[in-house]
């Protein structure tokens, strides 16, 4: 089976230690995490992890099964790129001297919807939000100018389909008479 990028979305209780439990599931199977983010989700007190990995679909199914097995994981899903709306952000720090006179680059920045965040006599900081490949493209373009620093965020993503978390939690509350 062919390997491809899958985005795993995990809704969890806000619990110390859950990150290492989840990370251990990947580690145990020698799977490299391409990116990981954690943040509060749309549901109060519920966290959402977004993890991108390159694996086969068979592998990702088993991994999601193992993740869901963790006591404090409410629900986990996996999606392919086509099923998600996703973005990441990157910052590029470049020497001003290398850069100021080159009109090509400035034009390219404009064309790719990148943004200049800071300008100092010594360096520029450019920000780019977009798909992974767009961030990569800008990286390649700016690389010859001598990148002083480069950092990218993890992928953040929402699915095209609905995420039925609220329903799961409501069902528990009704069957256990919790108000």
């Amino acid at each position: 089976m062919e390997k491809k990028n899958f985005t795993v979305s995990i809704y969890t209780e806000n619990n110390l230690g859950l990150l290492s439990r989840i990370a251990a599931i990947f580690l145990k199977r020698h799977i490299n995490i391409e990116s990981i983010t954690a943040s509060p989700s749309e549901v109060p007190e519920v966290m959402r992890f977004i993890i991108v990995v390159e694996v086969t679909e068979e592998q990702i199914k088993k991994i999601v099964g193992q993740i869901e097995k963790q006591i404090e994981v409410i629900k986990a899903f996996y999606h392919t790129a086509e099923e998600m709306i996703y973005q990441e952000t990157a910052l590029y720090k470049i020497k001003s001297s290398e850069f100021l006179d080159d009109l090509n680059v400035q034009a390219f920045i404009k064309a790719t919807n990148a943004r200049i965040v800071t300008v100092t006599p010594k360096f520029f900081v450019i920000e780019k939000t977009g798909k992974r490949n767009e961030v990569d493209e800008l990286y390649e373009t700016l690389k010859p100018y001598g990148l002083m620093q480069f950092v990218r965020s993890g992928t953040i993503a929402v699915t095209k389909n609905e995420m039925p978390i609220t329903g799961i939690l409501e069902k528990f509350n009704t069957t256990n008479s919790i108000s």
């Binding site: 290492s20 007190e45 869901e68 404090e72 528990f172 509350n173």
Partner: protein, 577 residues
């Protein structure tokens, strides 16, 4: 507003009272019906031990001689009684010594609650004396774990710990409690946990899946059942027996499924897997429908997965969704507690006898009997064989004993030759293969089922890994019977060296001490068998003895366990010699 993530049973009146965190721990254990716990004191858990002293008429604390012994004893207790086993230790080395037992309980789905003391919360992260990150260490080997830093958390966390340990697919849970949380006081009011919103203990039974599974079973010409510990953990033994009898389907067991169905039941066709019986292994690759019940297709069961039951449609009754399609694809997955799913399935399956198909098992058993079993039991060969000893224990206990085995050749002999007539009788380390398991596990097993005879069958290697627990036996006078099958080798490794490493016996030969003298040093009655003629009387004397007893039996040094599925081979390529 605080979000409720778990539900708790309502308590009747307001019974709240102010107690210390340490006392709260004991009160929680009492509320959960705990009578016996296993452990070892130390600095960071001392406040709890101080309370144990005050509550010693209500809760029996067994001082093991090593914390590993405490976890294995708690496992033995849980396995025979069906209750949650409890182990307690201090921080640092006390906690790390629990690790092997916790890992063993995780892979064999044994309900345990482990309570560890921790350095004061102000010292956390400072590399304090006996500080170790036991929550971090135990994360991959626990079903759940939690560090308590405030006394008020104790009742709710321990209630959740017990609920998680015993519900659904059981497993070990660890609660780490800082010393300041043990000293601080709280308003104690205990409510048992009844649900956790992010955790579904029992998946809902899907009747459509049941119907499809029943159809597959009803239309099968050559069906075969492989049952595991799920039948025991679900308390479904009677139901399972009725199911087997109604459908007439040959039923084979995994090592942990053993004793869920009486050994001599006419439909019990023996063990599957690496050292399992010839028939069920060969016929795994001939059956048309394979019905897996409460088992997880471990690699020791399946051999090479590319050649495992490829011709068969697989029906998989399982409580843990992560086990479905993990190793073997299930054509008909049936999620749920086997007690519920088997009940639903019972109503839809048709009575059958599968007589001709049974004859295939019988024929293959004859082959195995001739080539393996008759030789193992042959009383005319020069040295004593392990199977002969197990046979003698069967005769003296009439199949009613709990047999606790360690890991290795003797374990295979014990599982293959023990005669079990009742459930929860086979206590062994299956998934983890933990040498040193049996002696402490037997202590727990006897305390969990005091009315039953408990016989530990151990090799000379594994015995020496936890031999210090003889001290626990001496101190508690727990009447366990210990049989050492001494071949002077780490026999299973030696067998592999003989078969696959050209007889290079690297570090497998053992120079052993005088085991009888050691046992006597602990004032345990002890005897040694060096010759077949002594065996009968020696086993009888051991079983008849009122109190703990040690029996060393010198067995053939280079006996091999057969049948055997060599690593990487298909189960149907099982060899007999």
């Amino acid at each position: 507003m605080e979000v409720k993530t778990a539900s708790f049973e309502k308590t009747s009146a307001d019974t709240s009272m102010t107690v210390s965190g340490a006392e709260a721990v004991i009160k929680c254990l009492l509320e959960e019906g705990v009578e016996t716990i296993y452990g070892y004191p130390g600095g960071a858990i001392m406040p709890v031990y101080d309370e144990l002293y005050k509550y010693q008429d209500k809760i029996h604390h067994v001082l093991t001689r090593h914390e590993q012994g405490a976890t294995h004893a708690a496992q033995g207790y849980a396995r025979v009684s069906g209750k949650v086993g409890v182990a307690m230790a201090t921080s640092g080395p006390g906690a790390t010594n629990l690790v092997t037992g916790i890992a063993d309980a995780q892979i064999d789905s044994t309900p345990l609650v482990c309570i560890t003391g921790q350095v004061g919360s102000h010292l956390l992260g400072s590399d304090a004396f006996q500080e170790t990150d036991i929550v971090g260490i135990s994360t991959p080997i626990t079903k759940w774990n939690y560090q308590v830093t405030r006394a008020e958390e104790i009742p709710e966390v321990i209630a959740k710990a017990f609920y998680i340990a015993k519900s659904g697919r059981p497993g070990p849970v660890l609660v780490d409690i800082t010393k300041d949380a043990q000293f601080a006081s709280l308003e104690f009011n205990y409510k048992k946990c009844s649900g956790i919103r992010s955790y579904k203990a029992n998946p809902e039974v899907d009747l459509i899946q049941i119907e499809k599974a029943a159809e597959a079973i009803n239309s099968a010409k050559k069906p075969m059942i492989v049952f595991g510990q799920g039948v025991i953990l679900g308390g479904a033994e009677e139901l399972f027996k009725e199911f087997v009898e109604k459908t007439g389907i040959p039923a084979a067991w995994t090592i942990l499924g053993l004793s869920a169905l009486p050994t001599k039941h006419p439909l019990n066709v023996g063990m599957v897997g690496m050292h399992g019986n010839y028939g069920p292994n060969i016929l795994t690759n001939e059956c048309d429908v394979l019905i897996a019940i409460g088992m997880r297709f471990d690699d020791r069961v399946t051999g090479n997965l590319d050649h495992y039951a490829k011709q068969a449609k697989v029906v998989h009754l399982e409580i843990d969704p992560a086990e479905i399609n993990k190793n073997v694809y299930a054509d008909f997955p049936v999620l749920g507690n086997v007690k519920e799913t088997l009940k639903a399935l019972m109503e839809l399956v048709k009575p059958n006898s599968h007589k001709e198909w049974h004859n295939r098992f019988k024929e293959l058993y004859k082959t195995e009997y001739k080539k393996v079993i008759s030789r193992n039991l042959d009383v005319n060969k020069q040295d004593l064989g392990m199977a002969e000893v197990i046979q003698e224990i069967n005769i003296n206990t009439e199949g009613k004993a709990v047999i606790v085995s360690d890991v290795g050749q003797h374990q295979m002999a014990a599982c293959r030759y023990s005669d079990f007539t009742q459930t929860r009788s086979n206590v062994t380390s299956g998934g983890l293969g933990t040498m040193g398991f049996a002696l402490p596990a037997a202590i727990g097993a006897k305390m969990g089922a005091p009315e039953r005879e408990v016989v530990a069958v151990i090799g000379d290697g594994g015995y020496q890994m936890t031999i210090q627990e003889l001290g626990t036996i001496f101190q508690t006078k727990v009447p366990v019977k210990i049989v050492i099958l001494n071949n002077g080798f780490l026999g299973m490794v030696r067998q592999w060296q003989q078969l696959f490493f050209d007889r290079r016996y690297a570090s497998t030969e053992m120079t052993n001490p005088d085991f009888v003298t050691i046992a006597k040093g602990y004032h345990i009655e002890a005897n040694r068998v060096t010759d077949r003629t002594q065996l009968k009387d020696a086993v009888k004397a051991m079983i008849d003895h009122d109190g703990p007893y040690f029996l060393e039996v010198k067995v053939e040094q280079e006996e091999n366990v057969f049948p055997m599925v060599p690593t990487g081979a298909s189960v149907s390529d099982i060899i007999l010699e």
